[in-house]
Subunit: 302 residues, 2 copies
């Protein structure tokens, strides 16, 4: 007879625009999950405690842990960045407990160098990815596509270096607010327009700057259908990110994140002859469980 | 005794956001000028005729000519692009007369190539610049900073090739709508922040993509004052444009446009060891007069 699963941890992936909550058992298996559009920017009154109660309603009162922008200056409690190199051990040792709450917040990670970088939430996804794919722990390059895409170098299970590309945000602001978004609504039937953008970015040794206006000029000169221009822009931006990311012989091992977005990056990487890239799903909840376990939080309730 | 000047031409530089009107004598000297925030985007009812009457009120009813976005699909009458190579002669031969009006509109210019480009208004400034500086006519590279900066190659008095950088628009949308603009208001006392941005862009062989997030991360890691971040962003974007523009040994001969913006480009070019660049003022009115003269419009009123 199978033992009933024991709820052991509430794990929250609490970002800028969305909140995902997981109820995990003592092996990290997901027993229940909820997703709400209650990212920190959507909690205008700052009453994170109320949102936390709502999203975890009717779940057993087990220990809880959160990662993401909830630990930023605009979140519930600001948690100082953990300096790289940082892995599960360093993160578990640096958890911040929210006063008058059982919630522990995973700190973000700051990487040093001429071009310093910071992350909040991605560090936890990386810890989870290394749990799910232990072969990546010794040395790997992980790509986390998104509003702010991260290319993260991992050595011996620790984050050592990062580059951030604001690709997703750039696409959104250009689409919503620039002349490049003035064309009619995007039409996904132009599925070669994305690849065409990727190839244009790939061929540019100068970067994206001289190419952006082509989104408009190709339409004005009847060389690109107006309805295809946003797919082309997406290809240009992701293509330029990948071109930069692959410089100096770097080769990504895995993609972590939203499935639809990872698909775009896979297509792009294939156009750059990078075909050996794994897509990892479920990294956030695995990372939250791993860090909680390291911190002794999952045992605390038994 | 000096002869009174004879009003001979009304010349309009009618762009997206502003309208500048000049009353010129028969030598092209400016007798009077007016500037109004009545660019085509500000004429919401499309009644360009009424705006034209207002801005030229009390001026003698001489022939008139206009250049800029007034000839676009969103302007008064759409004028087809003149294909490059195009100089004063080709533009004068392609003027479009607005029905029921004495106004002639200068067409824009389209340059071909893998990356086609289009301009409306800049072609006229270039014709004017070549009138004011005939030594630039045989072969030159002219830079017109702005919302959409143009780097234009001139051979034998004709526009032959163009690259467009949406630098000004990119700065505006990132400042207004992205996380990079979230810092406190810019403070011009941080005058080294602009140069710091230029130098960072200059040092990046990959282009701007991996650098944009540094506008935020340098502030979060206390390496850049929050109030300096927009100056730094401006330096990054203009620096990246200049880095691209100077590729393959290209050397700009002149800057044409707004004085304050030309000053930023001069500073940037100096950081790239380009010190022999002329700043040209008054190019639009000189170009409008030259094209009108070529088309025989200035004689028509005598």
């Amino acid at each position: 007879m199978r033992m009933p699963a024991t709820p052991s941890l509430i794990a929250l992936d609490w970002g800028t625009s969305s909140l995902r909550a997981y109820l995990l058992d003592d092996t990290g298996t997901v027993l229940d999950s909820r997703a709400e559009p209650r990212g920190i920017m959507q909690v205008r009154d700052g009453n994170f405690s109320a949102v936390f109660s709502e999203v975890t309603a009717n779940w057993p009162p087990v220990t809880s842990i959160a990662a993401g922008m909830i630990g930023s200056a605009n979140g519930w409690v600001e948690t100082p960045y953990c300096e790289a190199p940082a892995g599960a051990e360093e993160l578990a040792a640096s958890l911040i407990r929210v006063p008058d709450s059982g919630l522990h917040i995973v700190p973000g990670v700051a990487t040093d160098g001429e071009n310093p970088n910071v992350m909040r939430g991605e560090e936890t996804q990386i810890i989870g990815a290394l749990q799910l794919h232990p072969e990546l722990a010794s040395r790997s390059l992980l790509v986390l596509p998104g509003t702010h895409s991260k290319w993260v170098q991992v050595v011996n299970g620790r984050i050592v270096d990062t580059t951030t590309f604001i690709t997703g945000e750039l696409f959104a602001v250009l689409r919503e607010h620039s002349i490049l978004g003035r064309n009619p609504a995007s039409d996904s039937s132009y599925d070669d327009a994305f690849s065409r953008g990727v190839l244009a970015a790939q061929a540019s040794s100068q970067g994206i700057a001289p190419l952006l206006f082509s989104v408009r000029s190709l339409v004005l000169t009847q060389r690109l259908a107006a309805g295809a221009s946003l797919e082309y822009l997406s290809g240009l931006l992701i293509g330029d990110e990948v071109r930069c990311g692959l410089m100096d012989g770097a080769r990504p091992d895995a993609l972590i994140g939203d499935a639809e977005l990872c698909e775009r990056y896979l297509t792009t990487l294939q156009l750059f002859d990078e075909t050996d890239v794994t897509v990892i799903d479920g990294a956030a909840q695995a990372g939250l469980f791993c860090i909680a376990e390291r911190a002794g939080l999952t045992r605390a309730v038994h």
